[in-house]
């Protein structure tokens, strides 16, 4: 069997860059831009996309509609990819989407133990905790202790199912609809849906909270 030849490279090229992280990035950016390999305006466009346009409000719209519309919910649970695409949420890091629904007997929680896979079109760029060694290492082995650190305690009767995102399938958790929300419209419901509730490390907010 061939060996991974990169392991024979003992002098990693990255060590040739300045050690300070901000200076390293600037050095690469400058080099690539001078050669015409990246366009600075494209970088600004990428940053603006993920800083201001794509974030957890997208996923919250999906969850609120699932709460409000039984047909939408059924279609979402059957095959989420085309359903969320119809709302305009598709593309990079959201090519294949599955929605998993929390119930009284099952709580779902998402992690990527090997890297940081996350449904970008629905939730944006993952928060620091999702990418941390502590979350990646512990979420699969002791999800209840992890949940407690997020302020969530589940009864023993509720099974926890942790989804380790090891392929290009991205998972969206549909949290339980809070009590006292009967008759609320989709936009008001969406305000109760937190980012963490769609990863499964939180619950949706109550209307009075």
């Amino acid at each position: 069997m061939p060996h991974d030849h990169h392991d024979h490279d003992h002098d990693d090229p990255h060590a040739l860059l300045p050690p300070d992280p901000a200076l390293r990035v600037r050095a690469l950016e400058t080099l690539l831009a001078r050669k015409g390999l990246i366009e600075p305006a494209a970088l600004d466009e990428i940053i603006d996309t993920y800083q201001n346009r794509i974030g957890p409000r997208n996923g919250a719209q999906v969850v609120a509609r699932a709460w409000a519309d039984p047909e939408f919910r059924a279609a979402l649970l059957q095959d989420a990819t085309p359903v969320v695409a119809d709302l305009g949420f598709f593309g990079r890091q959201g090519e294949h989407v599955i929605a998993v629904e929390n119930t009284a007997t099952q709580h779902n929680m998402v992690v990527c133990t090997l890297c940081s896979c996350y449904p970008w079109p629905l939730l944006g760029i993952p928060p620091a905790w999702y990418k941390s060694d502590a979350y990646r290492s512990r979420a699969v082995r002791e999800p209840r202790k992890v949940l407690a650190e997020f302020g969530v305690t589940l009864p023993d009767e509720t099974a926890v199912r942790v989804w380790d995102s090891t392929a290009e399938v991205r998972y969206l958790v549909i949290p339980r609809r809070p009590e006292g929300t009967e008759g609320m419209g989709v936009d008001d419901l969406a305000r109760l849906v937190t980012r963490d509730s769609m990863v499964g490390t939180g619950l949706a907010r109550s209307p009075g909270a």
Binding site: M1, H3, D4, H14, L17, H96, T113, P143, T166, A167
Partner: protein, 225 residues
């Protein structure tokens, strides 16, 4: 057999800092630049997503453990740029030339960012065979968890799930096999399954016997149980 990134189940990492809902998307300005430079450089088409994941994973363990998240991205990007010949070691030393390479014709333009990201990179592929496993069927994962094509190569079977018995939850059709694709060995698509494992199958002291872990696993990672 495994690498430092394969940390699922590891002990000793301490508590999680959940942050706050209104934390900025990018904690530091350079985090945003690191993301953007990485994505724009990726658009040059000189490597695929599996190669870029593997480039992060094969950072030296001391670097992987010592670098923050976007430092890992930046270091892996620098390595890929040199390995693929897009930049030279002299370029990184600040001693390169500034001539414009032909590859610059493929540079991502601002007006094409939205379209490029909307397309993304779907990994499902046509498959005319019959998947070997059906939902409900019991399967066992390979042990050890390792790339079977390239020793020390990229794989998406975590070590904590090696040799474990679970049940197929669903089949996603055929997807590009990272173990081949990360090493320039083609897409080699094969059926991908979500497999559910009881926590007690994976951990010596599961928190609750009802709890489960699911993983998305390619057909060649599995055998009938």
């Amino acid at each position: 057999m495994t690498r430092v990134h394969d940390m699922g189940g590891r002990f000793g990492d301490g508590p999680i800092n959940p942050g706050a809902p209104d934390d900025p998307v990018f904690e530091q300005d350079w985090h945003a630049r690191a993301l953007a430079v990485t994505l724009a450089a990726g658009a040059l088409g000189q490597w695929n997503l599996d190669m870029s994941r593997h480039a992060r994973e094969r950072l030296a363990p001391k670097d992987y453990a010592g670098f923050s998240y976007f430092e890992k991205w930046t270091a892996a990007l620098a390595n890929l740029l040199v390995e693929t010949g897009v930049l030279s070691a002299d370029d990184l030393r600040g001693q390169g030339d500034e001539s414009r390479p032909a590859l610059a014709d493929r540079a991502l333009k601002a007006e094409n960012v939205a379209a490029a990201f909307a397309t993304g990179g779907p990994t499902d592929r046509p498959f005319d065979g019959v998947p070997a496993f059906a939902p409900g069927q019991r399967v066992r994962t390979l042990r050890p968890a390792a790339n079977r094509l390239v020793d020390g190569g990229h794989t998406r079977l975590p070590a904590y799930a090696a040799g474990a018995v679970g049940a197929v939850l669903r089949c996603h059709g055929a997807h590009v096999l990272p173990d081949a694709h990360a090493h320039g060995l083609g897409e080699a698509p094969e059926p991908l399954y979500t497999v559910v494992f009881p926590a007690g199958e994976l951990w010596a002291a599961p928190e609750n016997p009802r709890d489960e872990v699911t993983l998305d696993l390619w057909q060649s990672y599995l055998e009938p149980a």
